[in-house]
């Protein structure tokens, strides 16, 4: 692939991605506002507010303006990096997202790491040992993992490991009793302890899926003539597996990676609730239930950004890793 060709492809894909991103934001903005439900419902619930107070709240959040002007204000703010003020929390959305993002990145990153290390490794092992007892019980295990609903697994793990055995914390992200004077190691260990159960809960399904994909892809590649050639050349079996076969069996998994990336924000809502994990998923879900428009748009911005970025990175990875893939 020529450098110039790649550059122009990158520019074209960036333009496409920006248009997709803008369309997603616009659609989300208008669809959420035409859906029924009062965004001030939670603020005014069970409280006596005069019509003047309700009107003042509507003015404060710009809810009395025509829809098109509200959209204009949103775009204006977006350009300035200002996503507005949350109706429910009364705080800037950017601050809320910034507070929640580290927890989401940590949990999501751990899940991705577990998924694409353990999942790939086990998938390759299964393919290499096709038909053995190990392959059979790993297949059974992966199918079981794929079938287990995350919310059920989360509840069971919290009860068994957190309450009955008390081996790990049942919920939360850090031990408040640890204090600000605790050393780095103590904090890291504490964070790890709290991370294990939510990360395992979220990972089980994704690891199972990755294993299945990787096994199938590897089995296909292992039957190709170039693998026979490699073996005939006297290469060690480990080199044949990891250097030759695995690299060529990676492509379906790259697609899977692109699909999993946005799910790390939107797919962890229940797990965040069960484990009181202070991430973006629960913030987004709560904003949708309460029609907190500014927070919803902040979350849509992030998720749309992740979807577009994941799509772009997946395509890029294909073109870079496989010379046979032509740039379109």
């Amino acid at each position: 692939m020529e450098g110039g060709e790649l550059s122009s492809w990158v520019v074209r894909r960036l333009v496409d991605s920006t248009i997709t991103f803008a369309l997603a934001l616009t659609l989300a903005f208008f669809l959420m506002r035409v859906a029924p439900g009062d965004p001030l419902a939670r603020v005014t619930e069970g409280r006596t507010l005069s019509p003047a107070e309700v009107a003042a709240l509507r003015t404060r959040y710009g809810l009395e303006q025509p829809l098109i002007r509200q959209f204009g204000s949103f775009v204006e703010g977006l350009v300035r990096g200002d996503l507005g003020v949350s109706i429910e929390y009364g705080r800037p959305v950017t601050a809320l997202l910034a507070e929640r993002l580290p927890a989401t990145v940590l949990l999501g990153g751990s899940v991705l790491l577990l998924n694409f290390s353990l999942g790939l490794w086990l998938g390759v092992r299964q393919a290499v040992r096709r038909g053995t007892a190990e392959d059979r019980w790993l297949t059974a295990l992966s199918l079981m993992g794929y079938a287990i609903p995350s919310f059920w697994l989360g509840l069971v793990l919290a009860w068994l490991i957190g309450i009955e055995l008390r081996l790990l914390p049942a919920a939360g992200m850090q031990d408040p009793l640890l204090g600000t004077d605790a050393g780095f190691l103590a904090r890291a260990v504490d964070l790890l302890r709290h991370l294990v159960l939510p990360a395992v809960t979220l990972s089980v399904v994704s690891i199972a899926a990755t294993m299945r994909y990787q096994r199938t892809a590897m089995l296909e590649v292992l039957q190709l003539p170039f693998i026979t050639t490699a073996r005939a050349k006297g290469l060690r079996e480990q080199d044949v597996t990891w250097r030759h076969a695995w690299r060529n069996a990676l492509f379906p998994v790259i697609t899977l990676f692109g699909l999993w990336l946005p799910l790390l924000v939107t797919g962890s809502v229940f797990v965040e609730a069960v484990f009181a994990w202070p991430g973006l998923g629960s913030l987004a879900a709560s904003a949708v239930w309460g029609r907190d428009y500014p927070v919803i748009m902040g979350c849509v911005l992030l998720v749309a950004g992740l979807v577009v970025t994941a799509g772009f990175l997946t395509d890029l990875a294909y073109t870079v890793l496989d010379p046979r893939v032509r740039l379109a």
């Binding site: 439900g37 003042a56 239930w289």
Partner: protein, 543 residues
């Protein structure tokens, strides 16, 4: 490739768990005089006069009660009328100059957490802000009878009112705790919410804020200078978990020491009773749940409701419901059927009659008197070809109301009324309710300790009277009760409740207690129905 064994990672995981478990145990042992309370809401703006609109949350109100002390507190009877049923806090004593003037003398020992004395100037400053409708519209409305708050020297504050009424002292003490003017008078009122004071407030209460970790917890430390005595519990952690299951798990796993509102569901009781280190404490709650009957046609609010404008139908629904059974099924012994719109928090409930029992025969008779017959033998009553079908709106977020709605549906079917249960998202339900677009609405409200709040929901022009119930006699009785113009105000309040029960604008279903779970290692535990953890400063820790 090396031989792989599943035992290796399992052994590693167990080793990590054990090591980290030991580390955690050491961390916990170092905090004997601390408590971890798990709640559902993260406090964000725990500052009096700023808790308006979205900031008016239970989390903020309860944390503010730890940081800022009021002039006086409600006594154990929770009676809001008169001057005698209060306990001194920042104010050492109070006297009356006349029926519209109250004088408070501040306790000279009272100090802000930075060491400065609490003065009359602080109280005047706070009420200037609290009475300003541009800064605090909700508070300004609550304090509308107050005409002036002035200082006489450093320790005396004088409150003046536009008229005589029984809750003057309550208004002066309950709604706004004093703020430190020496730290805030240079900050413009509209800038206070964005100032550093919100993140590091300086109060006069038993605890000071140490840190707030977003979405996780708030840490408080005992105020060494607290003039009523330093609390024995030195550290308080208010831990946040929005999901009720996660809260229970934190408690059951030993990560928390106390929790509010453990019931319903009732099976939580079995789980918690199995843990012998916990005890359960029921406390009267400010919550009230009822089926609200729309008096107007939802499609044309100018017209009376075609079915529910008839009082005999409304009364029949009330009598046709086995409310005692509904309450037992959902709350066990931790709730009662209220008489009138009165939660367990309101002092007027102590003298009120008992709620009526289930009377299906009387309900059928009332419906027959109102002209409803089952002419086509389909089990549903009808009148002029119109079947007695009503819709019941409720938010799908409330498990209590969902469960009770199904029970009500079945019970009303027994007397020939078809109730169509419509669950909807909370914002949709709220929008429809406020617009009066419902037949029957399953409402749950939280009440202030003052019965004066009843005027909002049950008087003709009440701000939250979305069902447009209107009885001039009730309005008149409410005015007399609020103004205290009668020799025996409780008699008037009971008359209000009797009239409302007779009119049946709603079927009052449940008035629950909140059940708290607290570890046995804490002694002298008292929980205020007004603010859950307000009396934490009096708790002791067993050795």
């Amino acid at each position: 490739m090396t031989r792989w064994s599943p035992r290796t990672p399992i052994a590693a995981i167990v080793a990590v768990c054990l090591l980290t478990h030991l580390a955690a145990a050491q961390s916990s042992q170092a905090h004997h005089r601390s408590i971890v309370i798990v709640t559902g809401e993260q406090p964000t703006v725990p500052v009096p006069t700023l808790m308006e609109g979205a900031a008016l949350t239970v989390g903020n109100l309860e944390l503010a009660d730890q940081l800022f002390l009021r002039l006086a507190g409600l006594g154990p009877s929770l009676t809001t009328a008169g001057d005698r049923n209060f306990v001194p806090l920042l104010a050492r004593s109070w006297t009356r100059r006349d029926s519209v003037t109250l004088v408070f003398d501040l306790d000279p020992r009272a100090r802000w957490q930075d060491g400065a004395p609490v003065t009359a100037r602080d109280v005047v400053f706070t009420f200037e802000r609290a009475r300003n409708p541009r800064i605090a519209p909700r508070l300004a409305a609550l304090l509308r009878h107050m005409t002036a708050v002035t200082a006489e020297g450093d320790r005396r504050v004088v409150f003046r009112y536009a008229q005589a009424y029984p809750e003057q002292l309550y208004d002066a003490t309950f709604h706004a705790a004093p703020l430190p003017s020496h730290l805030l008078d240079s900050i413009p009122p509209e800038a206070l919410a964005r100032s550093s004071f919100v993140g590091q407030p300086v109060g006069s209460g038993p605890y000071r804020l140490v840190r707030s970790v977003a979405g996780q917890f708030v840490e408080l430390a005992a105020n060494d200078r607290f003039f009523l005595g330093k609390p024995e519990i030195e550290r308080v952690f208010i831990r946040v978990a929005a999901d009720p299951n996660a809260r229970i798990n934190l408690l059951m796993s030993g990560q928390a020491d106390a929790m509010d509102n453990v019931v319903p569901p009732l099976n939580n009781l079995q789980r918690l009773r199995a843990d012998t280190s916990l005890r359960l404490i029921p406390v009267p709650s400010p919550t009230l749940g009822f089926l609200l009957f729309n008096q107007k046609d939802p499609r044309d609010p100018a017209q009376p409701h075609p079915i529910l404008s008839e009082v005999r139908v409304r009364r029949a629904i009330v009598l046709g419901l086995n409310r005692q059974l509904m309450v037992r099924a959902v709350f066990g012994s931790y709730a009662e059927v209220p008489y009138g719109p009165v939660s367990p928090l309101l002092w007027i409930r102590h003298r009120s009659p008992k709620a009526e029992r289930h009377q299906p025969t009387e309900a059928r008779r009332l419906l027959a008197d109102a002209g409803w017959k089952d002419s086509d033998n389909d089990g549903i009553l009808d009148q002029n070809g119109r079947p007695l079908i009503l819709s019941l709106s409720l938010p799908n977020t409330s498990a209590i109301r969902r469960q009770m709605a199904l029970l009500a549906q079945e019970q009303l079917r027994q007397i020939g009324i078809s109730l169509e249960v419509q669950q909807m998202e909370f914002p949709v339900w709220s929008e429809r309710r406020n617009a009066g677009r419902f037949d029957v609405d399953f409402t749950a409200v939280t009440q202030d300790p003052s019965p004066s709040g009843l005027t909002q929901g049950w008087s003709c022009g009440g701000g939250t009277n979305v069902a447009r119930y209107c009885n001039p006699r009730v309005d008149s009785l409410l005015s007399r009760a609020v103004l205290g113009s009668d020799q025996n105000p409780i008699r008037i309040w009971i008359a209000v409740l009797r009239q409302i029960e007779a009119d049946a604008p709603a079927a009052f279903i449940y008035a629950p207690s909140y059940v708290y779970a607290v570890r046995n290692r804490f002694r002298n535990v008292s929980i205020s129905p007004v603010s859950s953890w307000q009396l934490l400063r009096e708790w002791k820790v067993a050795n």
